[in-house]
Amino acid sequence: MDKLKFAIYWAASCGGCDVAILDINEKILDVAEIADIVLWPIALDFKYKDVEALPDGSVDVCLFNGAVRNSEQEELAKLLRAKSKAMVAFGACACFGGIPSLGNVSDREHIFRRVYQETASTANPDTVYPRTVTEVPEGRLELPEFFDTVKSLAQVIPVEYFIPGCPPPPDLIVTVVNAIATGQLPPPGAVIAPDKALCDECERERSEDKTVKEFRRPWQFIADKEKCFLEQGLVCAGPGTRAGCGSRCIKANMPCRGCFGPPPGVSDQGAKLLSAMASLADSEDPTEMAAIIGGIKDPLGTFYRFGMANSTLGRVKL
């Protein structure tokens, strides 16, 4: 039997997803056993033209991590889509926009001005900003276009499977590798993670009374290691987040931040989290209620930390 062909690509991401693939340890040898890798920019020296030369549909699986924030990433997403039988959105950024999509609170103009002009360590008296085309004596230089709006992978191309997480945990990656190796992939559109909310898996002690008189932030006190974070007045994304991460943060005594995205049936993770957190506030007095709610700083960044691109509103008003 011919070996399978894999492509692994990174777009607007930090590289953590690529490292997560290596985190499957000796299982990586099984991957090498069943598959040839045709593109993996972080680890192997293939060029884009090598991918362009492949026949359409000849790559069995493409693991695509990172959001789409510039034209190079968009071009590669479309190219890899054409070459691949199955496209996998790998990690929170590809699935929901992730941390990079928090850039949707701004736009190109403001980001450029901040980065190339206003930061304390920048001296740019001639206001030189990156341009897509620059003419120099040696010829024409081109750079990818930086978009105003960051998109998740499925907003750019059709996607078969979603593996959430920041980054996806090794056991889910192994599950996917095994499924590919045995040809037992789930139906297209599937999210490769359990179909329940993180709270269903959480081992912390919970009481019926979930009301709080004050929201606090993790740096303000050492949280009780056994008790539900919500009951301690800490914003925890567990009620609005899919399970499957192995409660990595919870076990380190840090509340969930929501990197597994919404559970099934929830279209907008941030709205659901907002609803859940506001329901904890216990007061019948408008002034006191406003004070409790005011304890949640930056609701947009907190509730859409990993999902701004996929949110109902998508970005701030331009």
């Binding site: 609701p299 960044g301 008003k317």
Partner: protein, 149 residues
């Protein structure tokens, strides 16, 4: 501002108080702008923030949530839940760049037809001044391409 512009406002009205208030405004032949599209919900506490954002993303220029006065909730505390969510939602919508006049929470009892009419009039005028929201016109939300069969 264009004189012709008529805003679309979605109204989530509690079944026990505000919807009856709207009914009273109608049966009393009160005059108010026809810009509000009423949606009857069981309780203002049923109004998920998702509803509000979906309405704004899908073309509404404003959203009114109306429920029973504090202490009058048919389900004891639904309107207090609504108040908490509304407060946090307002903070978040401000971050999204949605003007605060566009989303409003009001307590309107079954006997307050007049209040319903004046709230709708005031809100319609406020949003007329602001102009259309045209959220999708921002290219804010990309439609996901579908998988081919």
């Amino acid at each position: 501002m264009n004189e012709e512009y008529e805003p679309t406002i979605i109204g989530f009205l509690c079944r026990w108080c505000s919807y009856l208030g709207a009914d009273l405004a109608g049966t009393s032949r009160m005059h108010y702008p026809a810009n509000l599209i009423p949606i009857r919900v069981m309780c203002s506490g049923r109004v998920d923030p998702t509803f509000v954002m979906r309405a704004l993303a899908d073309g509404a220029d404003g959203v009114l949530i109306a429920g029973c006065h504090p202490g009058d909730c048919h389900y004891q505390c639904g309107n207090y839940r609504a108040a908490g969510r509304y407060s946090l939602l307002c903070d978040m919508l401000e971050q999204f760049g949605v003007e605060k006049e566009r989303v409003r929470l009001e307590w309107i009892s079954a006997a307050e037809g007049e209040k319903f009419a004046s709230v709708v009039t005031e809100m319609t005028n406020d949003i007329r001044r602001l102009g259309p929201l045209k959220w999708n016109g921002n290219g804010a939300k990309a439609d996901s391409p579908a998988l081919e069969e």
